[in-house]
C-alpha cells in the first residue's frame, strides 16, 4: 500500500515539476510549486518524517507561495517567451544527472534497514536519547540538543534573511505616514472571511503555542510554531489591513523580537558555559541533567519560535509596504 502511494505521489511530482518548467503564467507556476511542496510534504509523511512534512507544508506550500504571490503582485504575472539557449543548460543538467545516477548505482536500496545510515550515529539517538535528553520526539532531541548548534545556525539564517529583506525593501517613514490611513486591505470586501477569521484567529494562535510547547512529544517545535503564528498574523493583515496589523506589531518591535530570539538561544548557551558546561550543554542548567535538558530545549525552542515568527511577519510586512509604495507612486 505504502509503495503504491509512493509511486502515485512520485508520478504526480514529476508531472507537476514538468508543468512548472513548461508554463509561462507565473501565477500558475507559483501555485503549482505550492502543490509540489504539498505533495512532497505528503510523501515525507509517508516516509515517517512527520516533523519535516509539517514544516514543508507550512513553509513550502504556505509562506513561500505567499511570498511569491506577493512579489508577483509587484513584478507582473507573465513570463515573456524569449530566446532560450537551452542546449548548454541541457548539457549541464544531463551531465549532473548522469553523475547522480552513477552515484545511485552503489547506494543501499531504499528502505533497507541495514544501510550504513542506520548503523552508525543514529542508533544512539534512538536508544539513548530517552535517558540522556528525556524527550520522546527524537527529532526534537537531536534538533535542539545533540545538534543544537546547527539549529542556532538555522535561527541565525532566518535572522539573516530578515535583515536582508528589511534592508532591500525598506520604505521611508514619510511614505508610510502619508499612506497608512488610506490603504484598504487586500480582501476588505470579503465580509464572510472577516467574520470567520475573527473567530479563527485566536484558535490559530493558540495552535501555534501548542505546537511550540508540544514539540517534545509530537511533531512540531519552535520553527513550525513561529511559522503558524506568523501565518495567523498574515491572515489578519490581509483581511484587516496593514495599518491595523502594524499597530500591533510595529517594525521596531518585530526587529527587536527577532534579535531577542537569537539572543535567547545564544544566551542559553552562554549560561551553560558560565555554569561550567560547554556551550549549549544543557546538562549544567539544573542538577538533574534531564531536567536541564528539558529547560534548555524549552528555552531554545522559544528563541527559535520568536525569531521565526518575527522575521516571517516582518518579511510579509515589507512586501506589503512595497505594494503600498507602488500605489503611492502611481498616484
Amino acid at each position: 500500500m505504502e509503495t503504491l502511494i509512493d509511486i502515485v505521489l512520485l508520478s504526480f511530482l514529476v508531472l507537476t515539476a514538468l508543468a512548472v518548467a513548461k508554463m509561462h503564467d507565473l501565477f500558475a507556476v507559483v501555485m503549482l510549486s505550492g502543490i509540489y511542496s504539498l505533495l512532497t510534504a505528503s510523501l515525507f509523511l509517508d516516509l515517517d518524517a512527520v516533523d519535516v512534512a509539517f514544516t514543508e507544508a507550512s513553509v513550502g506550500a504556505g509562506i513561500s507561495t505567499l511570498l511569491m504571490l506577493a512579489s508577483l503582485k509587484l513584478v507582473g504575472r507573465y513570463e515573456t517567451r524569449t530566446r532560450y539557449r537551452p542546449m548548454l543548460a541541457l548539457g549541464v543538467v544531463l551531465a549532473t544527472g548522469a553523475l547522480l545516477i552513477y552515484g545511485t548505482l552503489d547506494m543501499p536500496h531504499f528502505g533497507s534497514a541495514d544501510a550504513p545510515v542506520h548503523q552508525h550515529v543514529a542508533p544512539r539517538y534512538l536508544n539513548d536519547s530517552m535517558g540522556e535528553v528525556g524527550v520522546p520526539n527524537v527529532v526534537t532531541s537531536v534538533l535542539a540538543s545533540y545538534r543544537g548548534y546547527d539549529t542556532l545556525g538555522e535561527t541565525l539564517v532566518v535572522f539573516t534573511a530578515g535583515i536582508g529583506v528589511i534592508s532591500l525593501l525598506r520604505v521611508s517613514r514619510r511614505t508610510k505616514q502619508q499612506e497608512m490611513q488610506k490603504v484598504p486591505a487586500d480582501m476588505q470586501q470579503q465580509i464572510i472571511l472577516r467574520v470567520v477569521v475573527k473567530w479563527l484567529l485566536p484558535l490559530i494562535l493558540i495552535f501555534a503555542l501548542y505546537v511550540q510547547f508540544h514539540g517534545d512529544y509530537g511533531p512540531g517545535g519552535g520553527f513550525q510554531a513561529g511559522v503558524i503564528f506568523a501565518a495567523g498574523i498574515i491572515l489578519y493583515t490581509m483581511l484587516f489591513g496593514l495599518s491595523n496589523a502594524s499597530r500591533v506589531f510595529p517594525p521596531k518591535l518585530l526587529e527587536l523580537l527577532a534579535a531577542l530570539g537569537v539572543l535567547l538561544y545564544g544566551g542559553v548557551g552562554i549560561v551553560c558555559m558560565l555554569l561550567g558546561g560547554n556551550f549549549l550543554d544543557y546538562n549544567s542548567l539544573r542538577h538533574d541533567p534531564v531536567h536541564g535538558q528539558h529547560l534548555g530545549i524549552l528555552l531554545v525552542e522559544l528563541g527559535v519560535g520568536l525569531t521565526v515568527a518575527a522575521v516571517m511577519i516582518t518579511i510579509f510586512f515589507k512586501f506589503t509596504w512595497r505594494t503600498v509604495k507602488h500605489k503611492y507612486l502611481e498616484k
Binding site: 510523501l43 509587484l74 546547527d150 539573516t160
Partner: protein
C-alpha cells in the same frame, strides 16, 4: 519492497534535474527562484528517503513500537528547509527591487540595459557626460 530498489532515488534525480534546468535555462527571475526551490525540495526528498526503513514508524518514542526511521536526516532537512525559505525570501526581495530599478525581470532585458550602462560609462571615461539615471533608492530615503 525491494522492487523499487533505487526507483525512488531515480525519480528524485529526475526531479532535481527538472528544477536545475529551470534555474539555468529560464530567464525570468521569479521562475528561476521557483526552479531553485524545486531543486532544493528534491534534495530534501533524497535525504528523507535515505532515512526511511521499511515498516518503521516516525521517530517519536513509544512503547508500542520497536522500529523507528532514522531521525538524523529529518533534523538536517528541517534546517535545510529553513535555509531554503530564507534564500527564497531574500531572492524575491531582490527581484522586487530589480523590477523597480530596471522595469523588467527578464534576464536578457536587464542585460541589455546593463550593456547600455557600460557603454555609457565607457563613453564617460573618454570624456562624455553620463545621462542622469533615476534610481529608486532616491525615492526611498
Amino acid at each position: 519492497m525491494n522492487i523499487i530498489g533505487l526507483y525512488n532515488y531515480w525519480i528524485v534525480v529526475v526531479l532535481m534535474m527538472i528544477g536545475f534546468y529551470v534555474v539555468i535555462a529560464h530567464e525570468n527571475l521569479i521562475k528561476k527562484l521557483v526552479g531553485v526551490s524545486i531543486f532544493q525540495t528534491s534534495v530534501f526528498f533524497f535525504y528523507i528517503s535515505m532515512g526511511k526503513i521499511s515498516g518503521a514508524t516516525p521517530p517519536i518514542l513509544d512503547d508500542h513500537y520497536q522500529l523507528y526511521s532514522n531521525p538524523l536526516p529529518h533534523v538536517l532537512i528541517l534546517t535545510a528547509i529553513v535555509v531554503g525559505i530564507a534564500t527564497t525570501a531574500l531572492g524575491l526581495a531582490l527581484v522586487v527591487r530589480i523590477q523597480e530599478a530596471y522595469g523588467s525581470i527578464e534576464e536578457h532585458e536587464i542585460q541589455d540595459q546593463d550593456t547600455q550602462d557600460q557603454m555609457e560609462s565607457r563613453l564617460e571615461a573618454y570624456g562624455f557626460r553620463k545621462k542622469h539615471v533615476l534610481s529608486v533608492q532616491n525615492l526611498d530615503e
